[in-house]
């Protein structure tokens, strides 16, 4: 999943920190008594699962979105997803019951890996969200184990860290990171009564993208779910904040978005489309409703709407919008059914970080394609048609019309996106 790329990058930074602190040993984080409930004799390859546990475990797998990172064209769960970092390439592991996968793991090994980041070849990089999976209950873990035993084994020998440069390829370095940022505890609430929070913070690992991270790539707990940058995309605030978060949306519309990829206003694209396609669309209405209810209760940022930009300054953007955008996004920013997102009433479009908007204009995008809403319409690139300044005009217009208000877009942010994404320049007109 693309959103891990940024995290993976930061992991390497952390590795440096941890290497500096080598010799330190975090007894607490390596204390594995939570795994005592798991069997330590039968390997995954030999495990005979109970069908009911398998069915439940498949659901846990969907909740955790394992396929997003562990399936990449080499067979289901056979790994091979490359996570580019400034310090090398990290490759996701084969988690099928093959000998080249995790077939030799016992259930205890599995528990240690998922909930504590202690893998069979050493410590895991936190690109694997054990920081969230630590919240999974013993029951869900048993079921997930049972499910994984039914996955067809695929022979695919992966050296996860071969592409990482020294010293970032030393897994032991993660001990330092764990010591600083990993709290070795389970879910602190009632997984039934607090079902929404249990999924959001556990399998769903929402905060992995939607919380900002510090310089050492750890989530900033004081800004929990208040929006996080992922490099080429931005995971917006999903708290009760009414201006930028989901506070203004109904529980039903949030649940509909999670289940189908759109609530008729926002449309999931990019990494969120992957989360919806691989994971969220498989969750029950009850669970999606619980998640939505919880998100609406999360304290948000203190962001409030600024006064909208003066209408006079938006005229050129309005003209460009009418020419190039209105056919699908509507003359009044109302969107097009379930097909193309609305701008009116779409809080995520107003975030101070405009990465998603500039990326869509430069590169284009593709909406999620789900069982219920399979269309998956495309947003074309307009890099050839508009300059950076014109794109800023368009964005200022949509972010300050139809009841919207947002600070002006910086042309240099758009220029940076054009450079970073490798998008072409505006087509030149022969003089």
């Amino acid at each position: 999943m693309a959103n891990w790329k940024a995290i993976g990058g930061s992991v390497a930074v952390v590795a440096a920190v941890a290497a500096a602190g080598a010799g330190w040993w975090a007894y607490d984080t390596l204390e594995t008594s939570r795994s005592d409930v798991a069997d330590d004799r039968v390997t995954l390859a030999d495990f005979k699962a109970d069908p009911e546990a398998v069915a439940r475990g498949e659901y846990v797998m969907r909740t955790g979105d394992c396929a997003a990172c562990h399936t990449k064209g080499m067979g289901d769960f056979a790994g091979g997803y490359e996570i580019a970092t400034p310090f090398g390439v990290l490759v996701s592991s084969n988690i099928t019951p093959d000998a080249t996968g995790i077939g030799a793991m016992t259930e205890r090994d599995f528990f240690n890996a998922l909930r504590q980041g202690i893998g069979q070849h050493g410590l895991l990089y936190p690109a694997m969200p054990y920081t969230a999976y630590k919240n999974l209950t013993d029951g869900d873990m048993h079921d997930l184990w049972a499910y994984m035993s039914t996955v067809p084994p695929v022979r695919n020998d992966i050296d996860e860290t071969a592409g990482m440069r020294f010293p970032f390829n030393i897994r032991l370095a993660m001990a330092g990171w764990d010591m600083l940022f990993f709290e070795n505890t389970g879910f602190d609430g009632d997984p039934v009564a607090d079902r929404g929070r249990y999924i959001v913070d556990g399998g769903g690992h929402c905060s992995a993208c939607h919380s900002p991270r510090n310089l050492l790539s750890a989530e900033v707990s004081s800004k929990y779910l208040q929006g996080g940058s992922l490099g080429t995309s931005y995971a917006p605030e999903i708290t009760s904040n009414e201006y930028l978060g989901v506070g203004g949306q109904s529980v039903e519309s949030i649940a509909q978005y999670l289940r189908t990829g759109t609530d008729g206003v926002a449309v999931a694209a990019g990494p969120m489309a992957e989360a919806v396609e691989h994971s969220l669309q498989y969750l029950s209405d009850e669970d999606l409703t619980a998640m939505a209810t919880y998100l609406k209760s999360v304290p948000g940022s203190d962001a409030v709407a600024p006064p909208p930009l003066a209408a006079d300054s938006l005229k050129q953007g309005a003209l460009e919008y009418e020419i190039s955008c209105s056919a699908c996004h509507g003359p009044r920013g109302e969107g097009m059914g379930l097909l193309a997102p609305a701008f009116a009433g779409n809080a995520a479009m107003l975030a101070p970080d405009i990465t998603n908007l500039s990326h869509a204009l430069m590169v284009g995008g593709r909406a999620s394609s789900t069982h219920e809403n399979p269309t998956g319409a495309g947003m074309p690139s307009f890099a050839w048609k508009y300059t950076d300044a014109q794109m800023a005009e368009i964005l200022d217009y949509v972010r300050n019309s139809w009841g919207n208000a947002a600070p002006p877009v910086k042309v240099e942010d758009i220029a940076k996106m054009r450079a970073d994404s490798g998008a072409r320049d505006k087509l030149s007109i022969p003089q």
């Binding site: 056919a327 699908c328 097009m336 379930l338 269309t375 074309p380």
Partner: protein, 591 residues
């Protein structure tokens, strides 16, 4: 050497509207379907997104979405005593160049045929006597399926395509709006009719004054956002007018791409092989079934796709040619009218009028591919033919389709200077003041209108080209003259200052002139085995696991665009296969 692929439950040849509709039904029923299409993969977001300027030169003049003539031509002659030669440019055969077929670049007319169109022979004899039906030239035959039997499948197609319109007759009751002559519908259209534009307004006012019954043509250009029964979303038409020969960037023109592929491509039991051209079918030793389809892939390799069920959903010319080349069923012989494959080629019989106004603002740049007004007062058998020298009629319509400036440069009143400042002045004025009335006339088969394999010309695979022998029936010629006169009356009533009628049927038919591109027939359906190649479920009479679907099955052609009827027949056949045939393979109809 021919390599063999793993056997499929079903092989579908041609992934246009028919193929996509059938693949959707059959994969949903659990069958493993392989579709083979000679075109490349083509979809809205990749190939015709809204950021690609709708370039008239590229798409409409040079026809970039169409399959090039070198891949699709046929030879042609008017009469049996002539030598046919190949058509070397686009003419009436306007096939799509990619998957989706012509369903991707079509205009989007969302018609049903009228009840009369399925029983032309029976009803003509009943109302006017045998002599009217058998004039020595005509070869009338009925479809073996009635409008009422097809109605649920028309309804299903309209729901999938999201057709915009206004019902004229629901459950036998006239609604007071819409087309009062239409066959009874089970319910209204899924989306409301598009807006009435200026040319339509003039037409509606004039025909109302004349006591006629104008209505808005049903369009597969959608008036509002829509989610079809498959869960696929479509957008509202923006009246940009770039529909015919263009792909619709904002998902508002129905097509296999916009309406079906999003679900079809998700299904693990569906496979499409692109850039692969089927040349023939393989037959079982006993000749009673077919065993698969043989195609030539992009690299020129010959590959066989075995299957339990073979469905031809290619263009009508190709359905016919594949059967002839595979030696399936008896070819039609025009000398004694025996044989069935290649029989009953028909076209459409088109007349109408161009007209120009002096100080109006038709503003043709606001439009939609299928948008227009029509009267059916002179269509089908909606008027008394007792004292007329023809049967059938035409949908008389005006279009608010497009304002393509290159094409419209030719639409000037007779006598207007065609160069210099005078031309520019006239064009600036008449571009905004031009309208047309188009009579989309029915076409009745004749004993000598047919297709067979050409004895002289072959395609790039060495397969003989199809040879078309056809000219208009005299009945159709008379009809076209009659309806042209009606259109002239309407044009004058509309207040046009210049009225210039046209009639394509006052000359010999030619494949080079696109009066319409609705060529049909060749594998006619029917309940009467000696005169039909497929039964009323489009199942081959001779090979029960072969279904030949599309306009090739029409035994007669109506004064409407064919796509809705093609869609309805395809869905009906797919349901018959899924519900009945797979449980007990064999003839669905005794014959």
């Amino acid at each position: 050497m021919t390599t063999k692929r793993q056997k499929a439950d079903v092989v579908i040849v041609g992934l246009g509207w028919s193929g996509a509709l059938m693949a959707e039904e059959l994969t949903r029923a659990g069958l493993n379907v392989v579709a083979i299409d000679r075109g490349a993969w083509t979809d809205t977001s990749t190939h015709t997104p809204p950021s690609v300027d709708p370039d008239e030169l590229r798409w409409s003049q040079r026809k970039e979405l169409l399959s090039p003539p070198r891949d699709n031509t046929a030879t042609f002659r008017n009469t049996l005593d002539q030598t046919a030669i190949p058509t070397r440019n686009w003419g009436v055969f306007e096939l799509g160049g990619g998957v989706g077929g012509a369903g991707f670049h079509w205009a989007g007319m969302g018609w049903r045929f009228s009840p009369w169109d399925f029983e032309v022979r029976k009803q003509t004899i009943e109302r006017y006597g045998l002599a009217k039906a058998e004039d020595g030239e005509l070869q009338l035959q009925d479809w073996g399926v009635t409008y009422d039997e097809l109605e649920p499948f028309y309804d299903r197609w309209e729901r999938i395509a999201g057709v915009s319109g206004r019902a004229g007759v629901i459950k036998g009751e006239k609604t007071g709006v819409g087309n009062p002559f239409e066959g009874s519908r089970s319910r209204d259209y899924p989306t409301p009719a598009l807006k009435t534009l200026r040319a339509m307004e003039l037409f509606n006012d004039a025909t109302n004054r004349m006591g006629l019954n104008p209505f808005t043509i049903p369009t597969a250009n959608l008036s509002e956002p829509y989610v079809n029964p498959l869960g696929v979303s479509m957008g509202a038409c923006s009246y940009c007018g770039f529909c015919l020969y263009f792909g619709c960037g904002n998902f508002s023109k129905s097509s296999p791409q916009a309406c079906i592929f999003p679900v079809l491509m998700r299904r693990p039991n569906f496979t499409v092989l692109t850039k692969s051209c089927v040349t023939r079918l393989t037959k079982a030793n006993d000749g009673k079934t077919v065993t698969g389809a043989v195609y030539v892939d992009e690299q020129g390799n010959e590959v066989e796709q075995p299957a339990d069920i073979v469905i031809l959903t290619a263009f009508m010319m190709d359905n016919t040619r594949i059967l002839l080349h595979s030696g399936i069923s008896k070819p039609y012989d025009p000398r004694d009218q025996t044989g069935v494959v290649g029989r009953n080629f028909t076209f459409q019989t088109v007349s109408g009028t161009d007209m120009w106004f002096e100080d109006d603002n038709i503003n043709p740049f606001i439009g939609a591919g299928a948008l227009g007004s029509q009267i059916d007062d002179y269509n089908g058998d909606n008027f008394d033919h007792s004292d007329l020298d023809f049967i059938g009629g035409a949908g008389i319509l005006t279009l608010s389709r497009d304002g393509l400036p290159i094409a419209k440069a030719n639409a000037l009143p007779p006598g207007t200077q065609r160069w210099g400042s005078e031309f520019k002045k006239s064009y600036a004025k008449y571009y905004r003041n031009y309208a047309t009335i188009f009579n989309q006339g029915c076409s009745m088969p004749t004993k000598t209108g047919y297709m067979d394999l050409d004895p002289n010309f072959k395609d790039k695979f060495g397969v003989p080209l199809l040879r078309l022998t056809y000219d208009y029936a005299q009945s159709d010629r008379n009809m076209a003259k009659f309806t042209m006169d009606r259109s002239l009356e309407i044009a004058r009533e509309m207040g046009a200052s210049h009225v210039n009628g046209f009639n394509f049927a006052d000359k010999p038919f030619t494949t080079a002139i696109v009066a319409s591109d609705h060529v049909i027939g060749g594998v006619p359906m029917g309940a009467d085995r000696p005169t039909s190649a497929v039964n009323p479920y489009l199942q081959s009479w001779d090979c029960h696991n072969l279904f030949v679907v599309g306009a090739s099955a029409f035994p007669t052609n109506a004064g409407y665009n064919p796509t809705g009827t093609v869609g309805a027949l395809a869905i009906r056949t797919a349901r018959a296969i899924a519900d009945t045939y797979v449980k007990n393979p064999g003839a669905l109809v005794e014959g």
